[in-house]
């Protein structure tokens, strides 16, 4: 469960009484560790909510923070501070793991925006059932055709193998498909980065943001399919 700290909230340092932003880890005045305030991963790092991110800078910040928050440093501190350092170290690790991966970060920020990928398909089904229309597939039909066709070939390949035969033509087809899908993955990475930039730079344009978010969801769904297929193709070629 993600709890988002209100950005305007202020925190009074328990040690010296000076006022800090709620997200700070340490008091700006006395440097004491501050209570753990549930926050999203962006604000934990003091970052704006954006898709594009400087990974090297994040990494540096992660190592710095993990040294400063490490529970060993608080072995002789109060029980409260020990607890905070534990909690913060744990959130720090989760935040780092999520934000450093472009796809995990994208899904995470989308979820902060109220979009959960696994609900997209379900919602489309509900809309279709309610209106009595055929569901708008969240994945384009040409991709579905392609996925279906390739699965047929994979099945043929497995059956041929089970019978002790290795059809060289099938193998060539699968190898070509593998190449093609790797290419598509690469292209989708570039597309995703373009969408990030578009979203990040249109803070004042809600309509653009909405469209961009939808495109991101479509792209991630497509990627999910391609990655599953690649895994199956690799397996069939290896076996």
């Amino acid at each position: 469960m993600i709890v988002i700290a209100e950005p305007s909230k202020k925190l009074i340092c328990w040690s010296c009484g000076s006022e800090n932003d709620a997200e700070v880890q340490f008091c700006a005045n006395c440097g004491k560790l501050q209570p753990y305030m549930p926050a999203d991963y962006f604000s934990f790092f003091g970052l704006p909510r954006q898709f594009a991110l400087d990974r090297a800078a994040l990494e540096k910040q992660f190592y710095q923070l993990s040294r400063k928050l490490h529970p060993d440093l608080y072995a002789r501190a109060s029980a409260q501070e020990q607890q905070w350092s534990l909690e913060k170290s744990s959130v720090l690790n989760d935040a780092w793991r999520t934000l450093r991966e472009p796809l995990a970060r994208t899904e995470y920020l989308l979820s902060l925006l109220g979009i959960r990928l696994e609900e997209q398909s379900r919602n489309a089904s509900d809309r279709a059932a309610a209106s009595g229309t055929v569901k708008q597939q969240v994945v384009p039909s040409d991709l579905l055709e392609e996925v279906f066709e390739l699965n047929m070939q994979l099945e043929e390949m497995r059956m041929a193998k089970a019978g002790g035969a290795d059809d060289p033509e099938l193998r060539r087809n699968l190898e070509a498909a593998r190449e093609n899908f790797y290419q598509q993955l690469k292209v989708s990475e570039q597309d995703l980065q373009r969408l990030w930039a578009e979203w990040d730079s249109s803070a004042d344009n809600e309509a653009t943001r909405q469209t961009t978010q939808e495109k991101m969801v479509g792209l991630l769904n497509r990627r999910g399919y391609i990655r599953n297929l690649l895994r199956d193709v690799e397996e069939a070629l290896k076996a």
Binding site: L117, E118, Q120, S121, R122, S125, A128, A129, G132, T133, V134, K135, Q137, V138, V139, S141, L143, L144, E145, V147, F148, N151, M152, E155, N221, R222, G224, Y225, R227, N228, L229
Partner: protein, 142 residues
């Protein structure tokens, strides 16, 4: 997570696996997918143009046991129903029949989507006839 006996039964003995000529006007084809798990499902129906009864159904699914069982069951259920009756099949009926756990509910959703898509495809091919018979059928349904 263990599959229910019914899922295993359908998985081991799937009903109506196969394909029909998707270019035939009597055949409606639904191809649907669930991006969350990468499953794809093709469900086809063959409809009698006079009675609008689904006389045959075939499926081919690439996915987990629950997805295969859901589509297998869907083909069994639509057979003998009119297209309008078939549209009444809900994913929750499939969940109940197969005792699907919450994480597998999307498989039943996929099967319902496939039925709708197949019927939608058939209707599109038979626009003239659907319009022509829509009146009397609606009355019969009431």
């Amino acid at each position: 997570m263990a599959y229910s006996d019914k899922v295993i039964e359908h998985y081991n003995n799937p009903r109506n696996v196969g394909q029909m000529d998707k270019n035939s006007t009597a055949v409606g084809t639904g191809l649907v997918g669930a991006p969350e798990c990468g499953d794809v499902m093709r469900l086809q129906i063959k409809v009698n143009p006079e009675t609008r009864v689904i006389e045959d159904a075939k499926f081919k699914t690439f996915g987990c046991g629950s997805a295969i069982a859901s589509s297998s069951l869907a083909t069994e259920w639509v057979k003998g129903k009119t297209v309008d009756e078939a549209l009444e099949i809900k994913n929750t009926d499939i969940v109940k029949e197969l005792a699907l756990p919450p994480v597998k509910i999307h498989c039943s959703v996929l099967a319902e989507d496939a039925i709708r898509a197949a019927i939608g495809d058939w209707k599109k091919k038979n626009v003239a006839m659907v319009e022509q018979t829509a009146g009397p059928v609606a009355v019969a349904a009431n």
